[in-house]
């Protein structure tokens, strides 16, 4: 099978433009070095374009894929021919992405992920929407058939089981609205910060006129800004940035999660989402490594939460690798109901950390504030106009409160078949890990933890989210308890594996 014919045209044009422009630039550089005739540009650039088009067409014609009984085969490449066979049972996720432009032509990009490596195993860029859906369900069926023949070789497989997904969850407009408010993306801050210079005069005028009554500078020129007035400017600017971040983050959330639907086809979860760019994907239930329930601070009084599932593969279009939203936002009850349908875990009753841990956090915060004051003092000694070096002192009364809340929201629960970890005040994350998914177990103690008899326990799993995401980690728990859990987790893993046989 070939890709969509429009893909060939698009590809050919893309390479054509590339080829033409490369020749153009090389010729221009050549002109500065020697006296090549300028008029020849009108000959060489079209030649470059045609070579590019030829390459693009060749690439299109030489890219073929095929569904065999056991593998998904792709043969590609113009100069270096590659033949790739992906066994169905190795495929983790199948994602279909429709960008706004491709949607107009009824086309989509299909990606297949396996557990290995950080990159996508197969990309079909692009096929018709119908073909994408056909492939998605065909691969799913063959995967199931492969699994069934592996499990019971004698039994007849009935492939005609449901191919239409049963709807599990649909994001209601109210939930989407709440999500935009409650879920603040830190990434939006960067967009706002880079957007302010682009906003130009309007942004600076608004900022200066708001800051002036409070002692802000007259203008943004170096002579008018003193360190003190700069601080006022920052004080006024910060809330504006926060509001801006909120709006941007809300917009991104709407674009990303509009029309979210989650369904189930036999052993796979299927989802689709997106306002302009439609994503649809498959999450095989048996590849799920852990569940994460996220409750932002603003969502907790509303009794709302979100649910993410982590697989070992790589997820297309998600900010966190390997983590997909199963429910972006809904009531806690519904979230837990669906989470338990995926992994039946019991009522979570979290063990709090010992009070010593809270004291440790107070000290940590105080050290940070002390450090800021010290840096500020050094700076004020160097720059005489800067006198507000003691400003971080206002954060001192906040430190014990912050430490308390950090402590309060951390905890762990050791269940029959799962271990759960909870952490985070601003965005509380509860991570549920089945014992049979454990990879390695770490217990670590820093010098300070050893003095207090505390330890940190990590139950490592095969998902790629841990950078910046919620680690399956119990921080600052009782040292002896950590030792007990360490052995317990290893035992439970062996036990779970032998009972799953």
């Amino acid at each position: 099978m070939r890709l969509h014919s429009l893909s060939g045209i698009w590809n050919a044009l893309g390479y054509g433009v590339n080829g033409g422009s490369v020749v153009f630039f090389v010729w221009m550089i050549g002109l500065t070095l020697s006296d090549l005739p300028v008029s020849l540009l009108f000959v060489v650039v079209p030649v470059g374009f045609l070579v590019g088009v030829g390459y693009g067409v060749a690439q299109y014609l030489l890219f073929e894929y095929e569904l065999t009984d056991e593998t998904f085969d792709i043969t590609s490449g113009v100069l270096n021919r590659t033949h790739r066979e992906i066994p169905y049972h190795r495929i983790q996720n199948i994602d279909v992405t429709q960008s706004f432009g491709k949607r107009l032509f009824g086309c989509a990009v299909l990606r297949m992920e396996t557990a290995g490596g950080g990159s996508t195993e197969a990309t079909l860029d692009f096929v018709s929407k119908e073909e994408a859906v056909r492939l998605q369900s065909a691969v799913r069926q063959r995967k199931r058939a492969a699994a069934e023949t592996a499990a019971t070789e004698s039994e007849q497989t009935n492939q005609e089981s449901t191919t239409e997904p049963t709807l599990l969850f649909e994001l209601r407009p109210r939930e989407l609205a709440l999500l935009t408010v409650a879920f603040l993306r830190p990434g939006a801050l960067l967009l706002v910060l880079f957007g302010i210079p682009a906003g130009g005069d309007l942004a600076t005028t608004v900022l200066l006129s708001l800051a002036r009554p409070l002692g802000g500078p007259e203008s943004l020129s170096v002579s008018a800004v003193s360190p003190n007035s700069l601080l006022v400017l920052v004080g006024v600017g910060l809330p504006l940035v926060v509001v801006g971040t909120w709006v941007v983050s809300g917009l991104i959330t709407v674009i990303e999660y509009f029309g979210f639907q989650l369904g189930r086809v036999s052993n796979d979860l299927v989802y689709q989402r997106g306002l302009f760019r439609r994503y649809s994907g498959t999450i095989p239930l048996e590849k799920i490594q852990s569940l994460t329930i996220t409750e932002p601070v603003l969502a907790r009084p509303l009794g709302h939460a979100g649910l993410q599932v982590e697989t070992a593969g790589y997820a297309a279009g998600e900010s966190e690798r390997g983590s997909q939203s199963a429910i972006p936002f809904s009531s806690r009850d519904r979230v837990f109901e669906l989470a338990r349908a995926i992994e039946p875990f019991e009522q979570l009753t979290f063990t709090r950390l010992p009070a010593r841990a809270r004291r440790r956090y107070v000290v940590q915060y105080l050290l940070v504030i002390g450090g800021l004051i010290a840096v500020g003092y050094l700076f004020s000694a160097l720059v005489s106009e800067f006198t507000l070096w003691y400003l971080p002192v206002v954060a001192l009364p906040v430190a014990p409160v912050a430490a308390h809340y950090k402590w309060k929201h951390r905890g762990y629960h050791v269940g029959e078949h799962h271990i759960s970890f909870r952490a985070g005040y601003w965005r509380r994350k509860t991570k549920v890990v089945p014992y049979y998914r454990l990879q390695t177990v770490f217990t670590s103690q820093t010098v300070f933890q050893r003095r207090l008899g505390l330890a940190t326990l990590t139950a490592d799993i095969a998902s790629s989210t841990s950078l910046g995401g919620a680690n399956p980690t119990a921080y600052d728990i009782e040292g002896e308890e950590a030792n007990r859990l360490h052995t317990l987790l290893c035992e439970r893993l062996q036990h779970a594996l032998s009972s799953r046989q």
Binding site: A312, L438, F442, S444, V447, R450, S464
Partner: protein
């Protein structure tokens, strides 16, 4: 629990010394172009780095322990942050034996165990005699295959 070969201290001290020299050269370069304090600064940096690095290497050797238990490879290490790791044999993806230039000089080798995990995807046991390293390598391979059969 088994400790490492005592030669590993020398390997670590040499590595620390190399690091100290690099740091010293870097300080000298920065001093030459930016600070202009004098070459004694680089000397001080090297001495301080060695004064930290040598006791650290010795302490590191004293703490390092490992054991091949029934179900898992257990490691204990870390001077400032003490880390205890259990790697179940079922989770071992593959095992490597590595020999760096300094290690080779002192007749040592390291065994690296890889898992599919995200954080501790590779675990290294340094400072082993080559015979012991290949012994552990083979043993881990056998244990990994055996435990695979059990599942």
């Amino acid at each position: 629990m088994e400790s490492l070969h005592s030669n590993v201290r020398i390997v670590w001290v040499i590595t620390a010394a190399l690091g100290a020299i690099v740091l010293g050269v870097f300080t000298a370069v920065v001093d030459r172009f930016l600070l202009d304090v004098g070459l004694w600064l680089a000397a001080v940096v090297i001495v301080v780095a060695l004064a930290c690095g040598i006791p650290y290497s010795v302490a590191r050797y004293r703490v390092w322990r490992f054991e091949i238990q029934a179900d898992a490879l257990v490691l204990e290490r870390g001077v400032i942050t003490r880390v205890e790791t259990a790697v179940p044999y079922v989770r071992v993806q593959h095992v490597d034996t590595q020999r760096g230039p300094v290690e080779r000089l002192f007749g040592l080798a390291s065994v690296v165990v890889y898992t599919a995990g995200s954080r501790g995807a590779d675990v290294t046991i340094p400072g082993l005699r080559p015979e012991r390293a290949s012994e552990i390598h083979d043993r881990l391979r056998v244990l990994a295959i055996e435990s695979e059969d059990a599942v």
